[in-house]
């Protein structure tokens, strides 16, 4: 195991700076270069944006409780719709999953003292709050961007121009942040593992982050190109996307989806990594198919770059394109299935501890299979053309984004909270949170499939009265989801201040981040750890598996 050899006398850290053992509270509000501080900065700000985006969703669902537009004006509804999507994707899931967990865990998992480029790392984080401010400002200058999170021209060129430009700028900022972060992750994982750690001894979360970073690196700049062209069109009188002057709106869609399709993998690959960490620890079993999971991440990354046109089956794409992109889309189900079956096989016969982290991981499995299957149906061009731009699509992507990414972020928070803060989260409260979230998710997003099949279009503030009863069910579900975050935020705030002390390794996990104190000292270890066995060797070498006080591992109580 990757355990620091405690028999060796602690040596002075050669050439290192003299630091205090831990940061003060105000250090978290500064341009701090420590990867742990940056990871927590990412997580906390993204959880704040989660509330903002969720608030917008609740307002929209309130509007949709009745068929008429009687609560929000249609313009405001459109602005909430646009910014709900934008905030949830770019300022909640991506920064939480990639920036938060990636920054916090990667150096700890590979035995490094920090990321390769700490200052760049801090810069990448500090691009996010201003981006959020730009979105907020857009509401005061012209009522917010109103053309949906896709911002397809010509709609994005004829609705409120200034907020649309601010929206583009905000996205360019978070895109830059994600590119800089990816450069950092790749170089760190490539070059800064402890010398004893080979590529195939890395925790699977690191493999997932390699795939995520490659994807972000290649896809994000193309979105930047699209947004720059859009801003030129809006503000400088060019006509790239103006059909009456020879431009072409479908070109925007190609550029946009060349990023935004891979973006769904940006939001789920780190979650796959979290799943691969949480499940073996709480099932006390070596992970099934380590290499299969690692390589399937890379396969998803590669194939994911060649499927974007399935978002454009109704945009006048040529039939050969529909065939090619249907097939390539369906192929993505293969590596994803490999992962799902590997996790199920890991659970099979495991000594499962139903901690809240594990509950969220298992909940994710069921949710993601459901959302994945509806994704396969949508990947097939004939069916996709039938339900295009209906609530079926909304139901599908919320199943994978909420049932997948958000569940995964919760699982990760419950799993690593003891490491980050040194205190345990309250388990009963966590279980209340899980049950509410699980019920809320099913209640909110399942009826959407039925709504879509019967023809309710998405992105509307008013709808035909025949859809009323199902919409009210969805709205009730949305309220349950809104309530579900309350026990979570209470739990986190209360436990952070006064939770039970965690000790360095409360779950008796074997990956390297658990070999240091909780929370880790400023340069992570007094003496860098040495790898003595693989990250998932549960039940193989019990003799060396002892808890923090030297008690045998089986005695662990949760």
């Amino acid at each position: 195991m990757a355990q620091a050899d405690l028999s060796m006398p602690p040596t002075e850290v050669q050439g290192g700076h003299k630091h205090p053992d831990k940061w003060k509270w105000y250090d978290y509000f500064t341009f701090n270069v420590d990867h742990k501080v940056i990871g927590i900065q990412y997580l906390v700000t993204s959880f704040l944006f989660y509330l903002v985006g969720g608030f917008m969703a609740v307002l929209m669902r309130t509007e949709l409780a009745t068929p008429d537009s009687d609560f929000l004006s249609p313009e405001l509804y459109n602005a909430f719709l646009t910014n709900h999507g934008t905030i949830m994707i770019f300022l909640w899931i991506v920064p939480a999953a990639i920036g938060g967990f990636g920054n916090y865990l990667i150096p700890l998992m590979i035995g490094a003292r920090d990321m390769a480029f700490p200052k760049l790392n801090a810069l990448a984080f500090w691009l996010n709050p201003p981006a959020g401010l730009l979105l907020a400002a857009s509401f005061f200058w012209g009522g917010g961007a109103q053309s949906g999170w896709t911002s397809y021209p010509p709609l994005s060129e004829i609705t409120a121009n200034l907020p649309q430009t601010l929206w583009c700028l905000a996205l360019v900022m978070v895109g830059t942040s994600s590119i800089l972060g990816s450069v950092n992750f790749l170089v760190t994982i490539w070059k800064m593992r402890v010398p004893s750690m080979k590529w195939d001894e890395m925790p699977l979360f690191c493999w997932a982050m390699v795939a995520t970073s490659i994807l972000a690196l290649f896809a994000t700049p193309v979105l930047a190109a699209a947004l720059i062209l859009l801003m030129f069109d809006i503000n400088l009188g060019t006509s790239f996307f103006k059909p009456d002057a020879g431009g072409n709106v479908v070109v925007y869609q190609h550029l946009f989806w060349f990023y935004s399709h891979p973006a769904v993998y940006l939001m789920i690959l780190p979650i796959f990594g979290i799943m691969s960490e949480v499940i073996p620890v709480h099932a006390r079993k070596p992970i099934f198919g380590y290499k299969a999971i690692a390589y399937s991440s890379l396969t998803i990354c590669l194939v994911g770059l060649f499927v974007w046109v399935h978002h454009m089956f109704t945009s006048g794409t040529a039939p050969w394109m529909r065939i090619f992109f249907t097939i390539s889309t369906l192929i993505v189900a293969v590596p994803t299935g490999v992962k799902i079956f590997s996790w199920v096989a890991t659970l099979w016969g495991g000594k499962i501890r139903y901690t809240t982290a594990m509950l969220f991981a298992v909940g994710l499995l069921s949710m993601f299979v459901f959302g994945g299957l509806s994704g396969v149906t949508l990947g097939a061009a004939p069916f996709d053309i039938h339900v295009h731009d209906t609530y079926y699509v909304v139901g599908h992507f919320h199943y994978v984004l909420f049932g997948g990414s958000v569940f995964g972020i919760y699982a990760g928070v419950y799993h690593w909270f003891p490491k980050m803060t040194g205190r345990m989260l309250n388990e009963p409260l966590g279980k209340v949170h899980f049950v509410l979230t699980f019920i809320g998710t099913i209640l909110t997003f399942t009826p959407m499939h039925q709504l879509g099949m019967s023809g309710m279009p998405r992105r509307v503030a008013m709808y035909d009265p025949q859809f009323t009863s199902l919409n009210q069910l969805v709205t009730v579900g949305a309220y349950v989801l809104a309530v579900s975050v309350i026990p979570f935020y209470i739990n986190v705030i209360w436990s952070w201040m006064a939770g039970a002390k965690a000790g360095p390794n409360p779950w008796n996990a074997l990956t390297m981040e658990w070999t240091t104190a909780s929370p880790p000292i400023i340069e992570n270890w007094e003496v860098l750890p040495v790898l003595t066995h693989g990250p998932y060797d549960y039940g193989m070498d019990r003799a060396s598996e002892v808890g923090p006080a030297g008690e045998p591992i089986e005695a662990t109580k949760v």
Binding site: R113, L120, I179, M192, A219, F240, N248
Partner: protein, 204 residues
């Protein structure tokens, strides 16, 4: 998945550079970043090719491009890539004066390139908004020009820092090396851009 047992003391160099940029990794980071940047230009090029493929006449009559000046400009920019390479070779041989000379020449050549581009813009007789071709033309060349400008700032930054004694030597030359890599990147993008926008107009 059996782990290895490694009992050697941990001396990795990480400790030395904790919370500092890792010198040896910067070049790698820059190359990774430039791969990403190239994809942004690739997006612009793809847009250009789509419009070229679907237009009846490309470039339209009123927006013919000038060929002589850009060709001379291309020669200057491409050979400056060779000049800056001489500069980093010099510093690797501890020849600081040589590095300063070659880097200085590179700056001059880059500045001539930019001046040539501005001159070209002013004498073309059409602007950004004229038609779809001019949109693409000014956008791609303009963005490339911006990158040339940033490259010039990087090289001048290296020159500024090289005034300090012993700042760069045969052992410490990451800065000049990175400036060189960035400059090559600017060059490669220009070669693609020149072929697409200027040379392809020769083929009807």
């Amino acid at each position: 998945m059996q782990g290895t047992v490694d009992s050697t003391p941990v001396v990795t160099g990480h400790e030395v550079a904790a919370h500092e940029e890792h010198q040896d990794l910067r070049v790698l980071g820059l190359i990774t970043f430039l791969c990403s940047e190239f994809l942004m230009f690739a997006g612009f090029f793809a847009v250009f090719l789509v419009f070229r493929g679907s237009a009846a006449e490309w470039p339209p009559k009123e927006t013919e491009v000038e060929l002589l000046l850009p060709a001379v400009n291309t020669l200057i920019l491409v050979s400056s890539s060779w000049v800056i390479n001489l500069g980093t070779k010099a510093i690797k041989n501890n020849d600081l004066a040589g590095m300063r000379k070659w880097f200085g020449i590179t700056v001059a050549m880059g500045a001539v390139f930019l001046a040539g581009q501005v001159y070209e813009y002013m004498n073309l007789g059409y602007g950004l908004k004229t038609n779809l071709f001019s949109n693409c033309f000014y956008l791609t060349t303009g963005f490339h020009g911006l990158h040339v400008f940033i490259g010039l700032l990087l090289i001048m930054g290296v020159l500024w820092r090289s005034r300090r004694a012993d700042h760069y030597s045969s052992l410490a030359h990451t800065g000049p090396e990175m400036a060189e890599i960035y400059w090559h990147f600017v060059d490669v993008v220009w070669i693609v851009l020149f072929s697409l926008i200027y040379l392809l107009t020769l083929i009807k």
